[in-house]
């Protein structure tokens, strides 16, 4: 498997508007897109920094994954996403190495990427996402 770069860092926030204000007005980044991912029960805001994105995630449902995360742990970094060249073979490879998968098959994530999550029990507590941008 070839990881090329950090595709994005997912950050769980309580209020997207407040958090966008912090990233724009304090850190000087620019929000370039807001997208709702209904499947994941989140509204997301994207910032680009170098080759990496910051993806802020506000829950649209307390029972969704981000709603539960914030209830349990509070706001903070939620997941780390690596860009891979071929997601199908990357999933096969980590599966063959005994890593517990959340997604056994790639599915569509924000921005039309093909994504799959590895379970934090197998990755030292880091919820890890693999992403391939097939639209490039």
């Amino acid at each position: 498997m070839k990881l090329t770069h950090i595709e994005h860092i997912g950050i769980a926030v309580k209020n997207l508007t407040d958090s966008i204000s912090y990233y724009e007005n304090v850190l000087g980044l620019k929000c370039y897109a807001i997208e709702e991912v209904k499947d994941q029960k989140v509204k997301t805001a994207f910032f680009k920094i170098g080759e990496t994105k910051i993806e802020l995630l506000e829950s649209t449902d307390p029972e969704g994954p981000i709603g539960k995360f914030i209830e349990k742990k509070g706001e903070g970094i939620h997941h780390l996403a690596f860009a891979v060249n071929k997601i199908e073979s990357a999933i096969e490879e980590v599966d063959s190495k005994g890593i517990k998968l959340i997604d056994k098959k790639a599915r569509k994530g924000a921005e039309g990427l093909d994504i799959a999550f590895l379970h934090p029990k197998s990755t030292g507590g880091v919820l890890t996402e693999l992403c391939e941008n097939k639209n490039k």
Copy 2:
């Protein structure tokens, strides 16, 4: 303030050897340096992916910051570090905007970088580090 890229992502681990094995053998990254930062009571291992580093942090003292973090939250992502062009002016700027600082002055971190941490209470729960590499 101009953030140029994600300098590194700090990940708290219980056992550096086991975690290096995961990042090398599962994710295919290569550990290029191991360094003890006595001041922070950690042993660190570095991996490069694109323009970003992954910094694994194993505590050398249960009373150190990583020891306490793991006791409270378990293994996982500990902090997010942004590269800035001029750390002194970046610190002044965030301070002037009312952000709570852990380091009011830059200090030396791993790999000889000049670093300063912002308090997660002011940054939406994300322990945030600013770094400047003056050795470039």
